[in-house]
């Protein structure tokens, strides 16, 4: 029971965290915590086969799939705080509390008695015993599962497949298109400005500055803009005064130091 009392609070806190975190990636990581704890609980409950399957299938395969989709989709997918139906959130939480209370009090009413334990059923090995049942009593359900899995794989392929309607544009086509856009719509012919041009930093999250001092939107990756991690040009200009003051102070220091030890300050100023 020690494992249970250690893991149960962790699982409940991680599950509650899924409700409150803003980013889908964090929710996926908290889900991983719940699933790993669950795997350990399976081991405590004498289900070593399900322990392995839980880690391999759930934490290994399903969560990786979730993370892949978060990577493809989640950047723009911020959770909106606005309610579409008024009062829906409060009602949902109330209904959840009622459901939880009913379930827990209902379970409190019954006494299950001491567990029989699986020592007898697992005597020939848990996996062997499971296989015996799976391939005798549940063999039809097992075979139906194969049909389900094939259907799911085909369905996912059909849903994710994108039909290419026209031929793939070659590099020459793209160049022609670019020049045509320039002739007809006056779009910029050259490459996009790289980030950080004429700005005070050259990191990718700093927009290029146009001659009039405004930020060039095209110089920043769309993904960074969606994440909201782009530094704004005026904000970068804020600390110019501080830097100037520091430079002046540094200049004063060197000017004062020059009188006493000219040889060393020459090197310092550089």
């Amino acid at each position: 029971m020690t494992a249970f009392w250690i893991l149960a609070p962790i699982m409940v806190i991680a599950a509650l965290g899924i409700l409150f975190v803003r980013k889908a990636v964090h929710a996926a990581l908290l889900l991983a915590v719940v699933m790993m704890s669950l795997a350990v609980l399976y081991l405590v409950l004498q289900a070593p086969f399900l322990f392995a399957v839980q880690i391999i299938v759930y934490t290994g395969a399903i969560l990786m799939l979730f993370l892949f989709v978060v990577m493809l989709v989640g950047v723009d997918a911020s959770d909106s705080v606005v309610e579409t139906i008024r009062g829906q959130r409060i009602l949902a939480i109330l209904a959840g509390l009622v459901l939880g209370l009913v379930l827990v009090t209902g379970l409190g009413q019954i006494t299950l008695g001491t567990a029989v334990g699986l020592d007898n059923a697992n005597s020939g090995g848990n996996i062997q015993a499971l296989a015996d049942i799976l391939f005798s009593r549940y063999v039809f359900a097992f075979e139906t599962t194969s049909a389900l899995l094939i259907t799911a794989a085909l369905g996912a392929m059909v849903l994710a497949h994108r039909e290419r309607l026209g031929p793939k544009p070659t590099q020459a086509d793209l160049a022609h298109q670019r020049v045509r856009d320039y002739a007809e719509k006056g779009l910029h012919l050259g490459p996009l400005p790289p980030p950080g041009v004429f700005a005070r930093h050259n990191s990718v999250d700093t927009p290029a500055l146009l001659p009039d001092g405004t930020a060039a939107e095209a110089s920043i990756s769309r993904v960074l803009a969606a994440r909201g991690t782009v530094r704004s040009a005026p904000e970068l200009a804020d600390d110019i005064e501080t830097v100037q003051r520091r430079l002046e102070a540094f200049g004063d220091d060197t000017a004062r130091g020059r009188g006493s030890a000219p040889a060393s300050t020459e090197k310092d100023a550089e």
């Binding site: 997918a77 209904a95 697992n122 049942i133 849903l159």
Partner: protein, 99 residues
């Protein structure tokens, strides 16, 4: 050792997953909460298997895992397709059938 604490824990996690499905807007997080509910029911099944001393509960949990794997594959493919056409993974944006 009785199975009651395990079943109570399973009920609590199921409730949390339920509230998550009702309150969250991001389709991926809603899907994670569905997974949470399936896992909670699995815990109850395994706990009852131990309580009654036969392995049928573990077999049921195994089948739940298989169905969950299939469901995740198709569900995430649907989310991807919706995102590709609507540029949004919010469950509120896919509401054209309402009008």
């Amino acid at each position: 050792m009785t199975a009651t604490p395990y079943v109570v824990l399973s009920a609590i996690i199921f409730t949390i997953g339920c509230v998550g499905v009702l309150t969250r807007r991001n389709a991926i997080v809603v899907f994670m909460c569905v997974e949470l509910m399936l896992n909670a029911s699995n815990l109850a099944l395994v706990a009852f298997a131990r309580q009654h001393g036969n392995l049928d509960g573990q077999i049921a949990a195994f089948f739940v895992m298989v169905v969950a794997a299939a469901e995740v594959v198709v569900g995430l493919a649907i989310i991807m397709t919706i995102f590709r056409t609507r540029r949004s993974a919010s469950v509120d944006d896919a509401s054209l059938l309402k009008y």
